[in-house]
């Protein structure tokens, strides 16, 4: 393929004109590989523009998850009546129902449930760029451990790069995974205070979730209130959480 990716993007964005455009079109006719590259990039653009497809998939996934919960309950009920353990199961059921009643009467929607619904550790970066090779190595190693869920080892490397925002952010996630909430709060608060980086919104979101995990309900409400009022990727989810918390 004699055409660069940038030229393909320029073509799709409508930035090629005159001779450049004619040349590009002639190449497109001749070069199958180029034609496929254009198809791929065009389709990806179409997908990004199609919010409906995103939304529908999310709703169908949600429906599927709900059906799992419902079918587990039905299956449990069937098993219960089938086996000779009926009496023991009844007793267990009374305990479970009693426990649930106790939980639900105290908390309309438990913080644990909220956390498990909304918390997902950030996806590791696949490519890292930094000024020094040594730094690159440390980050790459940290991400390797992070992907393997070895958060203690990952932390050692992230902490060695504490001046880097990326490292700071991921060290916060490691602290969450290790249930060291105070330190996680420190990491994310530093990112939020810095305010000139790409992780600010995510850090704010995780701060809210940490407060939930750590049973600091009033701080969580304050944090999600703040997020819900901002033009943030997480504002809709923050509003949803607030409905449960209030």
């Amino acid at each position: 393929m004699n055409i660069s990716n940038k030229q393909v993007e320029d073509f799709l964005d409508g930035n090629l004109i005159g001779k450049e455009l004619s040349f590009f079109i002639s190449q497109k006719e001749l070069d199958k590989e180029l034609s496929r590259e254009i198809d791929l990039r065009f389709e990806v653009n179409e997908l990004i523009k199609d919010k409906g497809f995103f939304e529908l998939r999310e709703k169908l996934d949600l429906q599927r998850n709900e059906s799992y919960i419902n079918s587990s309950v039905i299956k449990f009920r069937k098993d219960l009546f089938k086996t000779w353990h009926f009496a023991a199961a009844s007793f267990a059921l009374i305990l479970v129902v009693g426990g649930l009643w106790y939980i639900l009467s105290n908390k309309p929607y438990s913080t644990e449930k909220l956390v498990s619904k909304y918390y997902k550790p950030a996806h590791p970066l696949l490519q890292v760029r930094s000024a020094e090779i040594k730094t690159d190595d440390a980050l790459a190693t940290a991400f390797r451990y992070y992907k393997e869920n070895d958060f203690t080892s990952a932390l050692k490397y992230f902490n060695s790069l504490e001046n880097q925002v990326t490292a700071k952010f991921y060290s916060g996630i490691c602290f969450i995974e290790l249930e060291k909430y105070d330190q996680a709060i420190e990491s994310f608060a530093a990112i939020v205070n810095d305010n000139d980086n790409l992780f600010v919104e995510q850090a704010n979101w995780y701060l809210g979730l940490i407060y939930l995990m750590d049973n600091q309900k009033s701080k969580a409400i304050e944090q999600f209130n703040k997020i819900s009022k901002e033009e943030s990727f997480y504002s809709a989810q923050a509003s949803e959480i607030l409905k449960y918390l209030n």
Binding site: V44, L47, Q127, Q202
Partner: protein, 196 residues
């Protein structure tokens, strides 16, 4: 449970209406489940097939005004049936006798084509969602033809040149991740097998 007409259901799917989606699932999923489970599939397979069938209907109603010549139930089941038979074929799991469990209509190749496009879209979407928030937003705003200056303002980035640079980086990262996914080769093969 409230009943809906076929036209209302199609419109509801097009608008991603939660009530309609719940109604369709509760009313019609079991037919697909019966067919899939009677033909070497599991309940999970049936759920995949059901989701894919709804996505096909969504794309089909989006592409043109769909008028059904049968009930919605039969149409949905026929798509689910076709997708499952293709899946069995793909898995080299040829069944001599297919257990038919409900009324169906024969569908044209367009349904298959929409399904394969959806499979590619799902792959792209999976990788798009893994991009950072800013990358996602830059690409979305750029493709919505928002001016670079405005994107810089919305995302609090330093300049329009920087937005341009980031847009390029984000798109290249997305494309590289898509191409690096093992599903990509298979989907491309399926796509160009038909085209070439």
């Amino acid at each position: 449970m409230q009943e809906f007409k076929s036209e209302e259901i199609l419109e509801g799917i097009q608008n991603r209406d939660t009530d309609i989606l719940d109604y369709v699932y509760k009313s019609f999923f079991n037919q697909i489940k019966d067919f899939v489970t009677q033909n070497d599939g599991t309940e999970d397979d049936a759920k995949d097939v059901y989701q894919d069938a709804i996505l096909v209907i969504y794309q089909k109603t989006r592409n043109n005004n769909l008028t059904l010549s049968c009930s919605f139930n039969t149409f949905l089941f026929s798509i689910g049936r076709l997708l499952w038979l293709k899946q069995l074929n793909y898995r080299k799991n040829f069944k001599k006798v297919i257990e038919e469990s409900a009324k169906f209509i024969e569908l044209d190749e367009e349904i298959s084509n929409i399904h394969w496009t959806n499979e590619r879209f799902k792959l792209y979407q999976d990788h798009f969602k893994r991009l950072s928030y800013n990358c996602q937003k830059i690409l979305e705003l750029f493709l919505a033809r928002i001016q670079l200056k405005e994107i810089a303002r919305i995302l609090r980035l330093k300049s329009d040149d920087y937005v341009k640079k980031r847009k390029h980086q984000c798109k290249e990262k997305l494309i590289a991740n898509i191409k690096g996914d093992p599903r990509y080769d298979e989907l491309v093969k399926q796509h160009y097998l038909k085209k070439d």
